[in-house]
Amino acid sequence: MSGPLLQVRGLAKRYGARLACDGVGFALHPGEVLAVVGESGSGKSTLLGLIAGEIAADAGSVTYRMRDGVARDLAALGPAERRALMRTDWGFVRQDATLGLRMAVSAGGNVGERLMGVGERHYGRIRATALDWLARVEIAADRVDEPPSRFSGGMRQRLQIARNLVTAPRLVLMDEPTSGLDVSVQARLLDTIRGLVAELGLAVIIVTHDLAVARLLSHRILVMRGGRVIETGLTDQVLDDPQAPYTQLLVASVLAA
């Protein structure tokens, strides 16, 4: 164990006069689940985009410890290295599954794409791995040749997870993976995610506006508002004893079922 997996320092992004992200920094260790919570427009998704390098940062740095143990500044990686990293060691589960999946390609092809991307050229093995992963996210084997356009919202998110985890990444970014799903589907999906995270020892950054999701999945919480981190700490500590007035408001505004 040699320091954090991911080190984020002073990330900032400005859209015109508006600050979407202002001096955000944190460290993420292997196997750790960090929830980023806050209301809509608080800069959560921008933060995820900045970390993934999909949005160019105005200031700050993201350092990642590669598989060889060397921590590297992601901004200094070439495009080929960065893309290779994204499709092998990282995963990105998107809020809108149509952006994270190939909707016209079968479920098996969706899961197999990353394998083929890293040079797997044996159809039988690709298919066996795809079937194995579909089973792990509880998608029936007989749906393997159907495109996700015929899947329900919950199944699409499951498929996205399988597609991302097939190359055994060490870090997965999740942007509101459960939003728009009804509660029972949400509960099953969260169960799946929790099981896989524990089993594979994944480090996860999960963006959510749902405190229950944060409570269930995360070890630590980062509360954002107006692009700034206003409170951070262990999940139970932040949710049970919020210090910042905004966090207190946030926690108090959850309806008890």
């Binding site: 495009p79 080929a80 893309r83 190939r102 390609v105 079968s106 098996g108 092809g109 197999g112 794409e113 990353r114 394998l115 083929m116 991307g117 890293v118 040079g119 050229r121 044996h122 159809y123 039988g124 690709i126 298919r127 393997v144 040749d145």
Partner: protein, 291 residues
């Protein structure tokens, strides 16, 4: 059908295009040859024919055609279909070059959808008409993204297409425009030739040029270049095979067209390459339906 009109039409530059345009196209061709399989953008001109009829191929041909060239034009293997006849006559009238239907006599062959059965030789140029030059187009519609994928040689996506074929049909069902890897680097669309012709591209002694007029791209395979059809280890690339010889000339291991003879199920299978078929019949070979 050799030696067409002796003089080009008055008022036209040799081979229709002006010399400045030819230079622009030749520069694109040189770059394409230097980077085998790479799609070079070029300033495609309006040609006096509709898109889809070979505007790209015609411009490439016009740019490389010389006065001493002998031109052959084929469409689906045939020398006598509308497209082939029109383009051959076009260059007969605007360049006054000799034309032929014999593959071995031609120095320049413009083709749509076939590679001649007669092996090509050094010094010959084969010009392909290409409708869609981007092999990744139907999987990734964004041109900005496909350029990235080519630049970084990220071709996993191409195998996704082959995977989908096997998942749906049990085998690789792509039969034409079958993707190839050129010189171990770029993945290329060989134009809608049947995959039967893919092996002919590998190590071919002739220069192969590809022109896409509507999409404004030129690419090339230099002579003696490795061209490998993509496949899976457990689903290797295979060409089509036919269970009978040509009904006219008896040729085997050639690409056959099915011709419907009547409305009672009568049909025959004949060489798609008309020149090859005629040549064999002239040598005395006959098939079961030769009269």
């Amino acid at each position: 059908m050799s030696a067409a009109a002796p003089l080009p039409e008055p008022g036209y530059n040799f081979a229709y295009l002006d010399e400045g345009t030819k230079r622009m196209i030749r520069r694109a061709i040189l770059k394409a040859i230097a980077i085998p399989g790479y799609q070079v953008p070029f300033a495609s001109r309006e040609m006096p024919m509709p898109y889809g009829w070979g505007t790209g191929g015609v411009q490439v041909t016009a740019a490389v055609l010389g006065r001493s060239d002998v031109l052959k034009v084929i469409d689906q293997g045939a020398d006598d279909t509308t497209n082939a006849v029109s383009i051959r006559r076009f260059f007969g009238r605007t360049a006054g070059v000799a034309t032929t239907t014999h593959t071995s006599e031609a120095t320049l062959i413009q083709t749509r959808h076939r590679i001649p059965e007669t092996p090509l030789s050094e010094g010959q140029i084969l010009v392909y008409q290409v409708p869609i030059p981007e092999p990744l187009r139907f999987l990734e519609p964004r041109e900005t993204e496909t350029r990235q994928l080519h630049a970084l040689a990220e071709y996993g996506l191409m195998h996704v297409k082959l995977y989908e074929d096997i998942a749906r049909h049990g085998h690789i069902a792509t039969t034409y425009a079958y993707p190839v890897e050129v010189a171990g680097r770029y993945v290329m669309d060989p134009s809608p030739t049947p995959k039967f012709d893919n092996p002919k591209m590998d190590g071919c002694p002739a220069l192969q040029l590809f022109g896409a007029g509507r999409e404004k791209r030129i690419y090339a395979v230099p002579p003696h270049t490795r061209v490998r059809s993509l496949d899976f280890e457990d689903h290797p690339f295979r060409i089509q095979s036919f269970d009978r010889p040509c009904a006219l000339c008896g040729a085997e291991a050639v690409y056959l067209d099915e011709v419907v003879l009547d409305d009672r199920g009568g049909r025959m299978f004949v060489c798609s390459d008309t020149d090859h078929c005629e040549g064999r019949r002239a040598e005395g070979h006959t098939g079961e339906m030769a009269e």
